[in-house]
Chain length 213, copies 2
Amino acid sequence: MNVAVIGANGGIGRELVPRLTNAGHDPIGIVRDESQFDAVRERGGEPRLGDLEGEFTPALEGVDAVVFTAGSGGDSGWDKTLLVDLWGARRAIKASVERGIDRFVMISAYTASDPLAEPEALRPYRVAKRCADDYLERSPLDATVLRPTSLTDEEGTGHVSAAFEYRDENGDEIPRADVAQTVVACLANDETIGETVRLFGGDTPIENAISHG
Amino acid sequence: MNVAVIGANGGIGRELVPRLTNAGHDPIGIVRDESQFDAVRERGGEPRLGDLEGEFTPALEGVDAVVFTAGSGGDSGWDKTLLVDLWGARRAIKASVERGIDRFVMISAYTASDPLAEPEALRPYRVAKRCADDYLERSPLDATVLRPTSLTDEEGTGHVSAAFEYRDENGDEIPRADVAQTVVACLANDETIGETVRLFGGDTPIENAISHG
C-alpha cells in the first residue's frame, strides 16, 4: 500500500517510515517543510509537502492509507495544539474521506480517554487529542486509534501490551519503535478496524497483542 | 421551563436571564464562583455553582433546557479555550444527555463555520467553538446553534438578520441583547431545533427571522 505518514519526521514517524518499507509498503512522508525532505528520503520514504494549517489535500494523491502522527510539540503554544493536533487532524480525516482513502491510523495518547485526569498540565493536550479521536471514530473511515502510554526512545522490543478497554493505570512506558511497529501490524490486521487500543510496554508479540479486538 | 444559563454572568448571559423571566421561564444562572450569586439574583435568576472544569452535573438538577454561553474570555490562555469553550461545552452537552434534558441552545461564533478564515489570531478560538458545535449537532439533543457575528453592548433592537446557510461575509454587528432575545425566541420555536443559525444585526423582527428553518 501507499501509506502516507503525516508527521514523518517526528519521533514515531522516523521509526515508522523504514518499518513500512520492510513490510512491503511504499511510505510517503508528509512534512511541513522541504528542509525535512532529505531526512524522509534517507529512511526510504517519498517526501511530500503538506501543511496542516494550509494546503494539505494534494499530499494525499494516490494514497491508500494514512497514519497521523503529527503533533505541535511541547515547545509550541496551546494555540498550535488547537490548530495542529485537533484541527489539523480533522482536516486530514476529512481530506481522507473526500479522497476515498479508507484506512486511517491515529496516534493518540493514553489519557485522551480521560482528559481531566492528573497531571493537570496535560489536560488541554488531552482534550485536543480526544476530540480528534472522536471525530475519527465517527467518520466513515476504517479507523484504528492507538493510545500509547509514556513514550521513550529505547530500542524496540517487538512486544507490547494492548488493552481494548480502559484501565485506570498508565502502565509501563513504551518505546516509540514499538508504537511504530504496532502501526504496521494494524495495517495488516483488519480486526483492528473500529478499535481504540491502549498500548503499554509489555511481553506479548505485537501481532498477537492487537488480535484481541 | 427551568432554563439553565451556563455562563449567566457573561455578556450575553446577563442579558438573557431577565429576558427568560419576562418570557415566563424560570432561569437558573450557573456560575463558577459564589461571588457571582448576587449578580444572578439581581437579574431574577436562581444562582447555582457549576464548574466546567470540575463538579458540574449537579447544577442541572430539575432543568428543562440549557443555554451554553460560557467562555474562557479573551484574557485567558488558549489552554482555557480548550478546557472551557471546548471540553466544558462537551461536558455540559454530555451531562444534559445523561440527565434527559432535551433542549440545548449553544452560543457559538460566526466564523466557527470556517476556522482557518482571517483574522488568523482568532483561529484557535474558532476551532474550539466549531468542535463543540459539531459535538452538539451529533448528539441526540434538540439543539440549536447560534453563530452571531461581532457582538456589541448596544441596546437591543428586537430585530436581527438570520441566515440558515453560510454567507461569506461577517455582516453587521449585533447587540448582545438581541442575541439573548433570539435565544428566548428559539426556545419558543421548535422549527429551530436541529438548525445552525448565523445571526447579524438586521431589520427583521426576531421571531420572524428565526422562522425560516
